[in-house]
Symmetry: C2
Subunit: 189 residues, 2 copies
DNA sequence: CGATTTTTTGAATCATATCAACGTACGTGG
DNA sequence: CCACGTACGTTGATATGATTCAAAAAATCG
């Protein structure tokens, strides 16, 4: 729980009482490797913070191909934000890639928490803003850079993640085939 | 100003007093066709709502190519969110594509407004959440669909925009060359 | 160790970019 | 209100980046 409080305090400051309230509202959940946290079509009711481990959010298109939207490791959030906001069925899956431990809060409890600890509303706004900006950059890059350049960027930015996930998932995140990534890696020595 | 208040009330409810406070905090600005609203490298200090007209947010990469991040028309927001949040130099440009009128609020006034009208904090969180979800979908599509499919999707979703902007800007938004879009259109009859 | 998962190879093919040239539309000054 | 110049759109030939498929090699797991 310490990691979460610390993580929130990087954005906003919390009194001891507020920290305590927050700690009480999140519950812990342990996941086995490969365990699914959310299935496409289910409604996501929780916001989730990763305390330990590695997860992926992905979806499967009509042709049956997987596309990884996001990896997450310690200190990150993983969600189907769409589902959690609108309470419509999730558009994708979330799965643990390693044995993991997450802290989660139910949507309703979060709404409560926004009332008792208003600064949390700000915290989430700031978080989502940064996520949006990061995603905007990814979108531009996916349209304007070659796969090679995107792979190099990914490698610089997420060295730590590259080492923890299978290569074909990196390919999926980058939007290329595993074969193509393999040949890029060969070319790059 | 009516459009803005109405737009906010689609997400959260406002008392008359709150509506009034909000109206007082935004200022109006008129733009000529092709007028620049923000230059890359400048710090963006305003959140901006389009009352009338059409704008684009774009950037120019190292090779000199333009990439359109977003179009905006009546009832949309246009910003360099990154710059406005972090107060670092903007990563891209914003330009009016038609004679336009916007309502803008300075970052500092917005922080004030969050205190006097707390529900605005929620409003922005909700807005950014939806924007994030929409962008996530765009990102996945840009990696998994062909240009033809993306063009068809764009056309369905933004018929109204397609008719208001030059074709080469649609190509830029889709991440393809104008020549390629031209040939896709030909193929589609 | 055997079974499964992941990565690598190479050939054929497809999607899209690039370049250069030409055609068209449009707005702006006279 | 017209004519001209610039901006925009189209065409086709060629080049490149990326996919597909099938198969083999390597790594990982129980």
């Amino acid at each position: 729980m310490q990691l979460l409080i610390q993580h929130i305090q990087e954005q906003v400051s919390l009194s001891d009482e507020e920290s305590h309230l927050i700690s009480q509202t999140f519950t812990s959940k342990v996941l086995d490797k490969k365990e699914m946290l959310l299935f496409k079509g289910d409604v996501s009711n929780h916001m989730r913070f990763i305390e330990k481990g590695c997860l992926r959010a992905y979806n499967i298109d009509d042709a049956g191909n997987e596309h990884i939207l996001q990896f997450g490791i310690e200190g990150w959030w993983v969600n189907d934000l769409f589902s959690c906001i609108t309470q419509q069925p999730a558009q994708g899956f979330i799965q643990a890639l390693e044995p993991s431990r997450i802290l989660q809060i139910h949507r309703e409890s979060l709404d409560e928490l926004f009332k008792t600890v208003p600064v949390m509303e700000r915290f989430f706004r700031l978080k989502i803003q940064s996520a949006y900006v990061a995603l905007q950059e990814r979108t531009i890059h996916s349209m304007s850079k070659t796969a090679e350049q995107r792979y190099l960027d990914f490698r610089n930015k997420y060295r730590n993640i590259e080492q923890r996930v299978p290569q074909y998932m990196v390919a999926s995140y980058l939007g290329i085939t595993p074969e193509h990534l393999s040949s890029l890696r060969k070319k790059l020595l």
